[in-house]
Subunit: 141 residues, 2 copies
DNA sequence: CCGCTAGGTTGTAAAATGCAACTCTAGGAA
DNA sequence: TTCCTAGAGTTGCATTTTACAACCTAGCGG
């Protein structure tokens, strides 16, 4: 198998993964679909982040992020604070309720993943994580 | 980093990938968005496949596949034939026009991928492909 | 003090999807 | 043979997610 074939295989597998994931949202966790989950977990991870940061992380439109963050806020999972230190924009923070729901959902997802990779060695899993990280880090433009 | 942390990293990276991909469809290839592309390429790869096969491959609803295949047919990229050998159901085939468009789109996507993994060695890329394959092959239920 | 611009929101339209109800027909049972 | 069941596909309908565009708002630099 030459490099081109390998690349084609990567392409194929990424496509399958991407397509399958589209439906998963509500199936996995009723209250926190993939979209909301990813937002919430990013806000939690990147301390003091603003909506713009999510725009660049996920390469989404401002409006999309605005709506989703708005939804999270309306549900009491996220709080917007106007931090004068950051000048313009609002700093986002996960509320205790948000954190609770997030941990619950994370556990569910983690369990699912753990089952899928049950037969993988630690080394194999670590290599996979590193490769994904590297792939995602590459600039698309 | 213990196994749990590694798993969390995998989770995180897969999420980022999944979220980013959602928007890509029309951006990458005007005529053949990700959804149509994946259908067409699967029909091309799995010779004599039926709609049901796509349902199981991508874990989509029958209706979704029906509409998408219908769209491809209306655009003259796919032909449905009622093969008596298969009993019920219709066997799908990519038309010459479909194949042409498919190859064109594949080239575009391949180029994009190639750029992203330009710094990867053959071994690294092959390992990535294998890991993805393994991940996708795991039964989710 | 004033315009510029980054950050965010809202209106609108499109795509993708799932569920449910329906049709059609091949294949087996009686 | 006839009938009934189950597999394959289609269509109606609602929902979610998204992009684009127009808009608003308030810091920041001059």
């Amino acid at each position: 198998m030459d490099r081109e074939e390998i690349a084609a295989a990567v392409q194929r597998e990424l496509t399958v993964f991407a397509r399958r994931v589209r439906g998963v949202p509500q199936r996995l966790h009723q209250e926190l679909p993939l979209v909301a989950y990813s937002m919430l977990s990013s806000i939690d991870a990147a301390d003091g982040c603003r909506s713009v940061d999510l725009v660049t992380l996920y390469r989404l439109d401002k409006s999309t992020v605005s709506r989703q963050v708005g939804d999270l806020e309306r549900r009491g999972l996220v709080a917007k604070t106007t931090d004068p230190a950051h000048g313009r924009g609002q700093v986002l923070a996960v509320t205790p309720a948000g954190r609770a729901l997030l941990h619950e959902a994370a556990a569910t997802r983690q369990a699912e993943l753990t089952r899928r990779v049950a037969t993988w060695s630690d080394e194999e899993l670590a290599a996979f994580a590193a490769a994904l990280q590297r792939y995602n880090a590459a600039e698309p433009d």
